[in-house]
Symmetry: C2
Subunit: 338 residues, 2 copies
DNA sequence: CGAGCGGCTGACAACGTTGTCAGGCGGACA
DNA sequence: TGTCCGCCTGACAACGTTGTCAGCCGCTCG
């Protein structure tokens, strides 16, 4: 900037005025400065600028995801990135892998960079540690799971409603013995989806049979094993509700391995690429990560702009997509002759 | 920091020394300062720090991807993020959507933030505009596609070799009429994969039939339409080589729609989730985005550390995964009575 | 003709940190 | 006892920018 000022034979402040389009610079000077800028390929240092600026804003937000590489997270990332880009805000991101300690480390790191806002898909269960940052003026929005012990906005899918709809869909096809296969039960979404399952069964007056409820399936292998076990049990379920992506994939594998994919119904929570090309195609309750991300970013920017409305939990609807696997009926009751 | 210094009754510089673990502070003072830091929840401002630091480093890199939301990009992102995190470096990222102008905008934005390095999956075809940044000391590594008119390191998949292997695999199964279905032909990877296809055919002395070569299929719908057309043509191919993810998915749909999925062989470039669960399961040439990303990040940091070795093009091998669709043989030649 | 005003311009301080350097203090040594 | 040295410590400038403010110029108006 000094070089530009020297070349254009003006003061530093005039260069600054030209860069920021401030009024009160004569056209001739403006042109001279602009020429010098172009000639020197000068690029203003945004970090220095944000250090000095009265707003104290860095035009930067932090995004804390479960795992950048998974489809849900990366769709969120993209949606949030698009909104941020339109506002000239850059995005830092990091993966937490369900590790509460890493979550806190990332928050500290981002706070050290003085991000203006944080979008968090939390792994921990006590977010009071964020209170200081919130009071220091960092806007915070939670996504996918609400905050605990902290008053901030959150955007979540309709986990409970979507799951209940899935179960009712299976009930409508005539099923009475519907298994639940779920992710780590400490995770909010898994708990909610399980609650939806319970409610769906209750709506039909069916008692939950703990023998066909499996929690804590953390990868598709665990899910595959659990489904295989259920299928081999004396009283196997006639339908499966899988509460998460990888669990659904594991279930598909197990059904396939048992040759039962056309006998046992399946509805999965969260859509999977190519699910519609399987045989049978997999019926799912789809989330809308793009909508969630866009909403989260918009809310964050509202808060950054000073919106002081009471915080709220925003629930984004899910959508049941019937494709075949969820429309398989229960086995016809055999007569006494067996 | 002023508050901390005041509370601990020391000078600013002593606080700075404690924070950065510099030697030459008595244990008592160190403890007193640490107490003050804890008490005030003081978090050093990393942007101010990097502004002043002699190294001039921001501990920040920029990542320019085709689309953060696609699996290849997000796997890259994750791998690079992991290496960066281990070095205390934060990552900015942005999506380019094959738009050369957006690529330049992102570079400018990141340069304005004074990133120490750039990882670029380029959309443009003339990267000389990066020369200034390179000379200004920004480390640059290209990924997935090499740089044009700019001398920097690049890491790419073995597009040509992998494609040739795919075609040879189909040839080995007896096919002589193998269609090529490719992405936008201006994209480097598409050109390379097409070259591999040509070479594969040439190795068997088969002439390319332009009637069964289709370029510029930018989404799965276009691919689906193209395959449908090929299948309905007077001399349909007995095997398909699809050079990209979405094209592969479109081909699966078209084959399915025509009921030809068990008659026409298919090998796709780039793996797809659930490809192994389709019927038939899809044979693919898999890339290794994790390895590519890790290598890219390591190379970038080497350069940032001052490595001056000549730049190179690093080729990461692909892997053919036979799953069924690529092992379908050609229709048996009918006798004259046909 | 002088005061006052508005439009331009640049000198200077400040943002929060770190590099440089000088000063104070105590102990070892002549 | 005086000198020198090494260990701690803090004052100050500087990083690249922007907010504040004062000063200059030419014009208008009384």
């Amino acid at each position: 900037m000094r070089d530009v000022a020297a070349l254009a034979r003006v003061g530093l402040k005039t260069v600054s005025r030209v860069i920021n389009g401030e009024p009160g610079v004569s056209p001739e000077l403006r042109a001279r400065v602009q020429r010098a800028i172009d000639q020197l390929d000068y690029l203003p240092n945004l970090t220095a600028s944000s250090l000095r600026r009265s707003s104290g804003r860095s035009a930067t937000i932090g995004l804390i995801l479960e795992n950048i590489a998974n489809p849900f997270s990366s769709s969120l990332h993209r949606a949030i990135g698009d909104v941020a880009w339109a506002r000239g805000v850059q995005v830092f991101s990091g993966s937490v892998d369900e590790d509460a300690i890493r979550e806190r480390l990332l928050v500290s790191t981002f706070a050290g960079r003085r991000v203006d806002g944080l979008v968090v898909v939390p792994a921990s269960h006590d977010h009071s540690y964020l209170l200081g940052h919130k009071q220091a003026g960092t806007a915070i929005v939670f996504v996918d799971r609400p905050a605990e012990f902290l008053d901030v906005d959150a955007i979540v899918s309709d986990n409970r409603g979507g799951s209940e709809e899935a179960v009712r869909h299976l009930l409508a096809a005539g099923h009475r013995r519907i298994a639940y296969l779920g992710d780590l039960a400490t995770v909010y979404t898994a708990r909610e989806r399980h609650a939806g399952y319970d409610r769906g069964l209750a709506s039909a007056g069916i008692a939950v049979d703990p023998a066909i409820v499996r929690h804590d399936l953390q990868d598709s292998e665990a899910a595959e094993a659990a489904v295989a076990e259920l299928l081999a049990s004396p009283a196997p379920p006639s339908a499966l509700f899988t509460s998460q992506n990888l669990v659904t994939i594991g279930a598909v594998r197990a059904l396939r391995a048992a040759g039962a994919q056309h006998q046992v119904a399946l509805v999965g929570f969260d859509d999977v690429l190519l699910a519609d090309m399987l045989e049978p195609a997999v019926t799912v309750v789809a989330q809308d990560p793009r909508a969630i991300g866009t909403l989260a970013a918009q809310l964050l920017f509202l808060r950054m702009d000073g919106d002081l409305a009471p915080t709220a939990l925003h629930v984004v609807p899910t959508r049941l997509i019937p494709r075949g696997s969820g429309e398989i009926g229960p086995p016809v009751a055999r007569s006494g002759r067996g």
